[in-house]
Subunit: 189 residues, 2 copies
DNA sequence: CGCGACGTTGATTTGCCTCAACGATTGTGG
DNA sequence: CCACAATCGTTGAGGCAAATCAACGTCGCG
C-alpha cells in the first residue's frame, strides 16, 4: 500500500513504519482512465496528486480555444493546480490523464494536517518543490533561447521514451507551438 | 539586524529570539551597486539571496548574444540559480543588481546547516517555494496565451510601479520579446 | 464498417525579429 | 560645469519563423 510513494519519500527523509501508517490514513489511491479528468476548469482542485503509474497533464484552453499544456507528470512526480488547491478557489486549468493512470491523492483538508502530524514531510516537499523550481527555470531558459525546432529536437533527445508515450498535439502545446508545425519538423527527417 | 527577513519568516512560522540568533549566525548582509554582479556565468553560485531593498535579476546570454531575463526579485523575495547553488556546479546565469540593492545571503555551506538547526525553516522555505511555483505556472500561462503586446499591457497593469523601476530592455527580455518591439508597443499610445 | 480523433501537407498570412540609423539621457573626467 | 561618450530608447524597412486555414490521409475503436 502506497509503497511507491514511501520509497520516493525515503530518498529524501526517513519515515518509520508508524509514520507511514499515519500518512496512509491521509492518502487515497485514484485510478483515472485515459482522457478522464482529475480536475476541470471552474472546479476547485481537490487534491495534490502523486503519479504511481501512467501520465497526467495540466493544461488550459487559451482564448482561441486551443489546449495549452503547462505540465506533465509521470511516475514519481507530483502535480496539481497549486493556486486552486491551496486557496480552494476555482481553477483555470484541467488535469487530465494522458494514459490510464494510477495516482495517490492527498486531499486539501488533509494537506495541512499531514504537515502538522509529520513535520518531516515539510522537508520532503521542500526538496520536491526545489526540483520543480529548477525544472521551471530550465523550461524558461529553453523557451527563450531555442527555436521551436530546436526545442523539439532537444526534448526528443532528452526524453525519447516519453515522447513515444504521448500524442503529438500534447507535446506540441507543451513545447509552445502548433501540432501542424510539429508535423512539419518531423517531416524533415 | 536582519529584522526584515525575520518579519517575513514570521508571516509563515514563528521564531523565538533564540532561534533568530542561531539564524543570524548563518547569514550575511551584502550590498551591491547597480549593475554589479552577485553571480557571473561560469562561477559557482555561492548563496541564496533575500532582497531587503532594491532589485536583482537572473539572466543568461543566449546563442545570439542577447540577455534573457528569467527572474526578478524585489523586496521580500528570494533569488538564486538553484541548480548551481544546490549542486555547487558552474552556473549558466548571471545575478545582477538592477538597482543599488541590499540582500541577505545564506551561503551554501550554511544552507543545510540552517535546516538541521532550525527545522521550522523547512516549512518557511516550502511555503516560499510553493509561491514561486504558482508564479512560474502563471508565467507559462501568460507566455502561452497572450501576444507580446498583451503580455506587456497585462504586466504593466499588474505591476505599474515596478515597470517604472527597471530599464525597458530588462522588461522586454523578461516578457519574451525585443526592446525594439517594446518601443513599438509603447508608441501605439 | 463507419465515424471520430489524430496526423499530414501545402498555400498564405502575420507577429515579431533583425539590422541600421538616429535621438535622448546619463554619467564621467577634464 | 561643460564636453563627450556610453547607454538606453525610438523609428523604419525588410525578412523569417511559425501560425492559420483548409483539405486530405490514416488509424483505432464501438
Amino acid at each position: 500500500m502506497y509503497s511507491q510513494l514511501y520509497n520516493h519519500i525515503n530518498k529524501f527523509v526517513k519515515l518509520s513504519s508508524g509514520e507511514e501508517e499515519i500518512l496512509a490514513a491521509l492518502l487515497k489511491t485514484v485510478s483515472v482512465n485515459k482522457k478522464a479528468f482529475l480536475l476541470e476548469q471552474g472546479q476547485i482542485c481537490k487534491a495534490n496528486y502523486f503519479v504511481v503509474k501512467g501520465c497526467i497533464r495540466l493544461y488550459f484552453i487559451d482564448i482561441k480555444g486551443a489546449e495549452q499544456t503547462t505540465q506533465f507528470a509521470i511516475e514519481n512526480w507530483w502535480l496539481s493546480d497549486l493556486t486552486s488547491f491551496l486557496f480552494q478557489k476555482p481553477s483555470e486549468f484541467f488535469v487530465q490523464a494522458a494514459e490510464t493512470t494510477e495516482v495517490i491523492a492527498i486531499a486539501h483538508h488533509h494537506y495541512e494536517e499531514m504537515f502538522t502530524q509529520l513535520p518531516k514531510l515539510e522537508r520532503y516537499f521542500r526538496l520536491v518543490l526545489q526540483k520543480s523550481h529548477q525544472a521551471a527555470q530550465m523550461r524558461i531558459r529553453y523557451l527563450y533561447s531555442m527555436t521551436a525546432e530546436e526545442r523539439y529536437h532537444h526534448f526528443n533527445a532528452s526524453f525519447p521514451e516519453f515522447v513515444q508515450r504521448i500524442p503529438q498535439y500534447m507535446l506540441a502545446s507543451y513545447l509552445g507551438f502548433t501540432p501542424e508545425f510539429l508535423s512539419k519538423i518531423r517531416a524533415k527527417r
